[in-house]
């Protein structure tokens, strides 16, 4: 009975949503703001990937807020899960999962450098090809995940993760503040370097630098989240 009421209410909601969106025809050109972005991105900023130009430059302040949200998620998880040390035994109990097989371990060791290089490539070429800091950071976190699930004794040093994260965040903010001082219009995250020519690695000015910083920050945050979750049983205990 309860399910029937919910289903009928959802059908009404779905009908009105579909009715609303059917008015916006699929595949119709309704760009207004984007035309400005698509025009300025190759001419003024010399950035080939328009999505990168929007994420890092035109809407760069939102990206700063977003990496802050991700940082808060990582910190909050640490607070929620790992607050109490084990009271019952003095020493840290081992992770209860069995050791992964030799095949997984060997393949993990073999694939790890390749995944690192792919991730670094994706965020260094973020302004030229599809990809960027978020994608590259996620790929690098996948590489660390592979090592975390195949080796029981593998540990991510939280000290270094925090350092990398803080330094990347500081780089982002200080590039933004330098834009206020050195940029021609004195606004946050403004380009103050030579923009170069389109479709070259050195093009884009500060956009490439900011996206590399975002890549390091996202990689450190996601690795921290995964390490917290994988190591739950080692430090946290039932209270």
């Amino acid at each position: 009975m309860r399910k029937l009421v919910i289903i009928s209410l959802l059908l009404v909601l779905g009908y009105y949503l579909l009715d609303t969106f059917a008015g916006a025809e699929f595949g119709k050109d309704r760009k207004v703001l984007s035309n400005y972005y698509l025009e300025k991105s190759p001419s003024e900023l010399q950035v080939a990937n328009a999505v990168t130009a929007i994420v890092v430059n035109f809407r760069g302040f939102d990206t700063l807020g977003e990496v802050t949200v991700l940082f808060l998620a990582a910190t909050g998880m640490g607070t929620i899960l790992l607050r109490r040390r084990s009271k019952h035994t003095g020493l840290n109990p081992q992770r209860t999962s069995p050791e992964a097989s030799k095949i997984v371990q060997a393949a993990g060791k073999l694939l790890f450098p390749a995944i690192m290089i792919l991730g670094a490539y994706v965020f260094i070429h973020g302004h030229l090809t599809p990809g960027g800091g978020f994608q590259g950071g996620a790929i690098i976190a996948t590489g660390f995940l592979l090592l975390l699930i195949s080796y029981r004794q593998f540990k991510v040093e939280h000290k270094y993760v925090t350092w990398i994260e803080s330094l990347a965040g500081l780089t982002f903010v200080s590039i933004g503040l330098l834009g206020i001082v050195l940029g021609p219009h004195n606004s946050f995250l403004e380009n103050f370097l030579n923009v170069g020519t389109l479709n070259e690695l050195t093009s884009g000015g500060v956009i490439a630098l900011v996206y590399i910083a975002v890549g390091f920050k996202v990689a450190a945050e996601l690795t921290g989240i995964l390490d917290t979750l994988v190591n739950i049983r080692e430090t946290g205990d039932i209270d």
Binding site: N49, V51, T52, S97, V122, P130, G131, G132, F134, Q135, A138, I139, A141, T142, L145, I149, L222, I225, L226, L229, V230, I232, R233
Partner: protein, 85 residues
């Protein structure tokens, strides 16, 4: 859009809806998690077909790999079946 693109688009949409239903009704939570990762896989194909390669790359890396493993770790630390007490 040519015919092959359209066929692939419709196929991916059907796979996505099927996986969503599967993930919503499955009692075994591990299977439901595999359903969500299948949604992400179909979704990244659809994003690629709709000319959004950046979003497709993000969805493939985060939705398929990281999200699934986070769910599986959470299930390993709690209960595997939905009705289990």
């Amino acid at each position: 859009m040519d015919t092959i693109t359209l066929l692939l688009l419709f196929f991916s949409l059907i796979v996505m809806i099927g996986a969503a239903v599967y993930a919503a009704i499955m009692k075994d939570l591990i299977f439901a998690t595999i359903g969500t990762s299948l949604i992400s896989l179909a979704l990244s194909v659809i994003f690629y077909l709709l000319h959004a390669p950046d979003v497709a790359l993000t969805e493939a890396a985060i939705g398929v790999a990281l999200s699934t493993i986070v769910f599986i770790i959470a299930i390993r630390n709690t209960k595997r079946y939905e009705d289990e007490k």
